[in-house]
């Protein structure tokens, strides 16, 4: 037989347990939500991970491509035959990059687009158009890994 007092105590205890249960349910829900989010994001990332896995390596190799391009712009006359072979090697190198999804951003003569182009200079030339490419930009899939550094026309005559 319970006394009245005991009933009250039971009731309090029950309330406390109820509160505790709510708290724990909330925690469990949060943990579950976090896990589901993580799963979803992992799924999304898995789709692009193959292309993106190389992003740092490719980005760090870009200055080398730049320098090879620069070298090919400065071929001395007496080395033209040699340069032909060199040019083939450079293209071979670039082909590998393409195979890995790296694409040059088209810039020269295109409308200036700050999503892809970083305007270093604003000067005479066709308005809002890329008039000179100072450094090539690259994309890997949809992601810009380096903006093209460009000169943008301001509409004045050159």
């Amino acid at each position: 037989m319970h006394h009245k007092k005991d009933h009250k105590k039971d009731h309090e205890q029950e309330e406390e347990l109820q509160k505790k249960l709510e708290e724990m349910t909330e925690h469990a829900k949060r943990a579950m939500a976090d896990m589901q989010n993580l799963k979803r994001r992992q799924e999304e990332e898995r789709k692009v991970i193959i292309t993106m896995a190389n992003i740092d390596l490719l980005r760090s190799l870009l200055p080398v491509i730049d320098n090879l391009d620069r070298a090919m712009e400065h071929v001395p006359k007496e080395a033209e035959k040699w340069a032909e072979g060199m040019n083939m090697s450079v293209n071979q190198f670039k082909k590998i990059f393409q195979d890995y999804g790296l694409a040059e951003i088209e810039s020269l003569g295109k409308p200036f687009n700050p999503e892809f182009h970083d305007a270093l200079v604003h000067g005479p030339g066709e308005k809002d158009t890329v008039t000179e490419v100072l450094e090539k930009g690259y994309k890997l899939g949809d992601r810009v890994i380096r903006h093209a550094k460009v000169k943008v026309g301001n509409g004045e005559n050159e």
């Binding site: 724990m24 909330e26 925690h27 469990a28 829900k29 949060r30 943990a31 939500a33 976090d34 896990m35 989010n37 993580l38 979803r40 994001r41 320098n67 620069r70 070298a71 712009e73 400065h74 001395p76 200036f112 700050p114 999503e115 182009h117 970083d118 305007a119 270093l120 200079v121 604003h122 809002d128 100072l134 450094e135 992601r143 810009v144 903006h147 550094k149 943008v152 301001n154």
Partner: protein, 655 residues
């Protein structure tokens, strides 16, 4: 259920973070970067925020707004210096506050900041997967009420309910968990960003941080370091080639990137090479430039700037009314604090090693997210539900005294795992399960938690019985170990409640010992493994001779028996080396193969190629059984503990 995001709304860059699974995580923006330039631009009615706004700045200087934070909540009269430095137009608002002209319209700085916040909010929503309504935003400790209110307004305009504005140094302290260490603490926060330097002294009491004093220099930062390195490269190039490239925009851009890269590399290397082929050209053709830069050269260049941070720090301590000896913790914030010379200076100023570990560009946002987690009740998830991990590896002792791990350290609990073991000797009827805890490869070097016997195993050749050992840790850290003979169904178990009761010091000591003795232990384990292999070869060789009976002659039997004796002797020798055992092992292996060859010759099988080593000759993986034998035990075979892995059956379930 919604999350409260944490936002570090910076002068040049902003960063956003959120609590996930009890930990603060930085949210990458839509472009894949972890920080977003705090730049806003409008052109032909189109709004851009972040890197694309920054990219078009030179083409649209009037309508590209950066550093809006310098004007937020401030009066026109007190901002003259800052107004002169920006490329856009600022005007005096109705009540004397600064307003910014954007596309011919007056905007409050808070409206500009709101555009940045809107992008951060959208990027966070894309990451989290649902709408974000609430945020914690950080501000510099020296911000006054009007600046704080304006920051809060910016949040509101962006559609965010700003649950709290907290100080940047406080957020950094939260990110480092300083508040969890308990007690009263005095914390110095040294924040050297790209363009500003701030120092703050905080006091922690009863879980609440109070800013005691702040100081700084609004015109000093890591960008100045880069500028000095650039100037040095330009000067060296001029010295070498006689050409001044300082007006060549492209060359300058390349030098800027090279300077930044060199600075970063010199944080971990002592010397780096700055390589700039075809930097420019003159009538003689292209000019290349290459130069080595040492860390001490870099330090020479930037030392005067680093020195400039000392006086504000001293003044700050003075204003807080404390001495350097009173400071308990030192925290670094801002990318420039990665430079070793800066860290050394900080240590010199405060007489204490600064905290490292968190990314100094991200700690403020992480701290804001933690504050957001506390406000939403998210932060205790980890404390209540997930935080427990086993601090040390748990396993059993197997043949030769090797500790075979069942549950690796840092496994989240509750968890359980089973593995099947077998006997080491023929007709062995009992196995001893010795439960050990620790990282050392030999059981004797680890902590013994308990042992028990499982007997009544039906007599069988060694390696045949299957004894499944199951480890189970419940959420209270109580470990129960069960061993069951799959053949007879007999089982035994033990419950160990002390496994989680190691103090942090004990755990740390055990880990350090494991590291310290790693090399020695490896040799020891290798020795035991070779001894086990040797012993098993002896057993197999003896069996092979017996099985072959008189099918083979003494000319084959004799050398094998001799080698067996030799092996037995060397195994008993206390100071035998691995090489000695190896030599005899190989000799015996090749002798024993002759039995097979002989048997097949007799049975008339032609050549028997490959088969000779098939059944009779011992190999390491005979029947797929790896044989280990306990070393120091006496000859009493029945008592010899066993345990060899016959197959791995992994069951891992998290309750």
């Amino acid at each position: 259920m919604s999350k409260i995001i944490g936002i570090d709304l910076g002068t040049t860059n902003s960063c956003v973070a959120v609590m996930e699974g009890g930990e603060a995580t930085v949210i990458p923006n839509a472009e894949g970067a972890r920080t977003t330039p705090s730049v806003v631009a409008i052109k032909d009615g189109e709004r851009r925020v972040g890197v694309s706004a920054k990219n078009q700045a030179t083409t649209n200087p009037d309508n590209t707004i950066y550093s809006a934070k310098r004007f937020i909540g401030r009066q026109f009269s007190e901002s003259k210096n800052d107004i002169e430095k920006v490329g856009y137009e600022c005007i005096k608002g109705k009540s004397g506050e600064v307003e910014i002209m954007l596309e011919g319209k007056q905007k409050r700085p808070a409206e500009i900041s709101a555009m940045v916040l809107q992008k951060l909010k959208a990027d966070a929503e894309a990451y989290i997967g649902y709408e974000v309504k609430e945020a914690v935003i950080t501000v510099p400790a020296y911000f006054n009420d009007s600046q704080r209110q304006a920051t809060k307004d910016a949040g509101k305009i962006a559609g965010l309910d700003v649950k709290r504005i907290i100080n940047e140094p406080t957020a950094a302290a939260l990110a480092y968990g300083i508040d969890k260490k308990g007690g009263e603490k005095k914390v110095a926060v040294y924040d050297l960003g790209g363009g500003t330097f701030d120092v703050s002294i905080l006091e922690l009491g009863e879980g609440v941080f109070q800013v005691k004093a702040t100081n700084g220099d609004t015109q000093l930062g890591g960008d100045d370091f880069d500028r000095l390195v650039m100037e040095w490269i330009i000067a060296e190039f001029k010295k070498e080639q006689g050409i001044d490239v300082s007006k060549d925009k492209l060359a300058i851009q390349r030098i800027k990137e090279a300077a930044e890269k060199a600075k970063i590399e010199l944080s971990s290397l002592h010397e780096t090479t700055i390589s700039l082929p075809y930097l420019t050209m003159d009538k003689d053709g292209p000019k290349n430039f290459e130069i080595k830069m040492s860390r001490s050269k870099l330090e020479d260049l930037i030392m005067s700037l680093i020195e400039k941070t000392e006086a504000p720090c001293k003044q700050c301590m003075k204003d807080a009314g404390i001495f350097e000896s009173d400071i308990d913790e030192v925290i670094l914030v801002g990318g420039s604090t990665r430079t070793p010379a800066v860290q050394a200076k900080v240590k010199e100023i405060f007489g204490k090693e600064p905290h490292r570990g968190s990314n100094p560009d991200e700690v403020v946002a992480l701290g804001a997210a933690i504050q957001g987690g506390i406000l939403s009740g998210d932060s205790d998830v980890k404390d209540v539900l997930l935080v427990d991990v086993t601090p040390l590896t748990l396993g059993i002792e197997t043949l030769g005294g090797v500790a075979t791990p069942l549950i690796e350290r840092n496994s989240a609990v509750p968890t359980s795992k089973s593995q099947v073991f077998s006997t080491a000797a023929d007709n062995q009827t009992a196995v001893e399960i010795h439960v050990v805890q620790g990282e050392r490869p030999m059981a004797i070097d680890n902590k013994s938690l308990g042992k028990f016997n499982l007997d009544g195993i039906a007599p069988a050749p060694r390696g045949m019985p299957q004894v499944e050992v199951t480890f189970d840790i419940d959420s209270n850290g109580i470990l129960s170990v069960k061993a069951a003979d799959k053949g007879t169904g007999k089982e035994q178990h033990i419950t160990i409640s002390g496994s989680g009761n190691l103090s942090n010091e004990e755990v740390e000591k055990m880990r350090q010992e494991a590291e310290k003795y790693a090399e020695e232990d490896k040799t020891k384990k290798e020795m035991v493994e070779f001894k086990n292999k040797g012993e098993s070869l002896v057993i197999q060789s003896e069996k092979a001779i017996k099985d072959a009976g008189d099918k083979i002659g003494d000319e084959i039997k004799k050398p094998i028996e001799e080698k067996i004796e030799e092996m037995k002797k060397i195994l008993e020798k206390k100071d035998a080396t691995v090489d000695e055992i190896k030599e005899i092992y190989e000799a015996l292996s090749s002798e024993i193969q002759k039995i097979g060859a002989e048997l097949y010759k007799d049975s008339g099988a032609n050549g028997g190629d490959g088969a000779s080593s098939g059944e009779e000759a011992p190999t390491e993986d005979d029947d797929g059984v790896k044989v280990h034998k306990k070393g120091e035990k006496k000859e009493d075979k029945d008592d010899v503990f066993d345990a060899e892995v016959v197959e791995e059956e992994e069951k891992k379930d998290e309750k």
